[in-house]
Symmetry: C2
Subunit: 311 residues, 2 copies
Amino acid sequence: MQKSDLLSVYQRIKPYVHNTPVHHSRLIDDLAKCELYLKCENFQKGGAYKIRGATNAILQLTDEERSRGVVTHSSGNFAQAVSLSAKNLGVPAYIVMPTNAPKAKKAGTIAYEGIITECEPTIEAREKASQKIQEETGASFLHPSNQLEVIHGQGTACYELLQEGIDFDYIVTPVGGGGLIAGTCLFANTFSPKTKVIGAEPENVDDAYRSLISGKIETNETTNTIADGLRTNLGNHNFPIIQKHVDQIIRVSEDQIVAAMRLVWERMKVIIEPSSAVAVAAVLYNQDVFQGKKVGVIISGGNVDLENLPF
Amino acid sequence: MQKSDLLSVYQRIKPYVHNTPVHHSRLIDDLAKCELYLKCENFQKGGAYKIRGATNAILQLTDEERSRGVVTHSSGNFAQAVSLSAKNLGVPAYIVMPTNAPKAKKAGTIAYEGIITECEPTIEAREKASQKIQEETGASFLHPSNQLEVIHGQGTACYELLQEGIDFDYIVTPVGGGGLIAGTCLFANTFSPKTKVIGAEPENVDDAYRSLISGKIETNETTNTIADGLRTNLGNHNFPIIQKHVDQIIRVSEDQIVAAMRLVWERMKVIIEPSSAVAVAAVLYNQDVFQGKKVGVIISGGNVDLENLPF
């Protein structure tokens, strides 16, 4: 992508998204021993960055395609994002959600008038159910992370962060399906080449970490992590971007995720979801990498089931 | 107070406090049927507005007074505020806290190097303990709500909110000891006379509501509310200001407080404490007053004990 192409993506979606605030805490800087800036996409419309990619993808459909609607499968944040951006643009949205998706995310999807179909919590079941809807309605499939229009849209959060005038050494994002980090890489590499992009992943679902070592897309044998947004695997469209531009993937334990989440809630009064806490934990617990540096973290979202908190 | 005096207060404390952001949610506007703007003092240093009043009071002490330190009693937010502003200004801070103060508030006070003395959770015990410290150390007493320097400082949150360029019909604050609402009144009346100030109080501790009816300071027979910051009574310095300038006090139930708190957490991803939720609840559940209006709410703080949540 040329610089002008990436700027076009940002200009296209800008009227439909918030330029979310960047929060900073001296107290947390003291603990982390670095300057830590949180790009608060939890304050984004729909409670997560994902409306950026969904909006960019829908805006590139023809009128005729839009009239048939869009379909996706998602454990939650992308479901809300597609529902909301489709609603904003007058497009029907069919959403396949696993039965174990957090309640708050289901409620949000319904509030944004997404048409929900439930399925078993496996990637196969999700793909099969959305395939069926595509065949029946002619809706365009939107992939939560492995589609270039979506990837480009997600990267605009990084673009806004870079506009803050902070000379970032690192930008850290959580890694689930790979859309956020791939988009982040593209914008960081183009607009601030000296800034390194690091991914953060739960130890229990470290497929991206293993993929970068093996050179091929690895999968997870379990989905046993509190970071419900990060249970998925990389895809063939985002993996080459990640291979080319990501500095490293840092893995964190479940305890570290919960401690980081609690710290941000208690000290910054900002509700971040476990998937976002993964990226904060990577910074807090790896001072050998981050000490003395300027670090931006993309807080992916704040959609949490309050009846099922880890503390 | 003249306009220039109030501006001096703001100029005095400005270097020591955050100009906190104002958050707004279309989704919550739809529910509340009004335009609702939250002045997020939960993002203030110390997690609450109270550093404003504490800083204004300490800055008006002589050097000699400062060397002997300051003392206060508080269930939490003012304790953290005095500790932090005293620490910023190199002044020792003696803090009397009731044994039932939330853990997070105690931890915050310790983090800011406040010297804690515990006492029974009654106003009498708090006053006795702080009296003793005054006698022993010569420290200056700072009252959390009933001291003009403190009241003036607290009002600066309202001043910043009025600078946002929104033509507010109402500003709503929670009412505990009366310092925040009295300060808010003074600034609103001076800088935006058409804006009415409304207080919000739990039904279970509705001393301010009854005080405005009876014309004298009423007390509470119980402290049985989740809004731990609002269990105290008005004082002789703030009551005349409140009598003169407050439009009305709205009372809310415990269920309404919890529902409002949950709504803001879930939909806005912002951690507000129960005392702040009291003011949000007043707006949500009194559409006869607020429908179609522009309403600002001072979110007093975000200090919550995460191990003891009501949901």
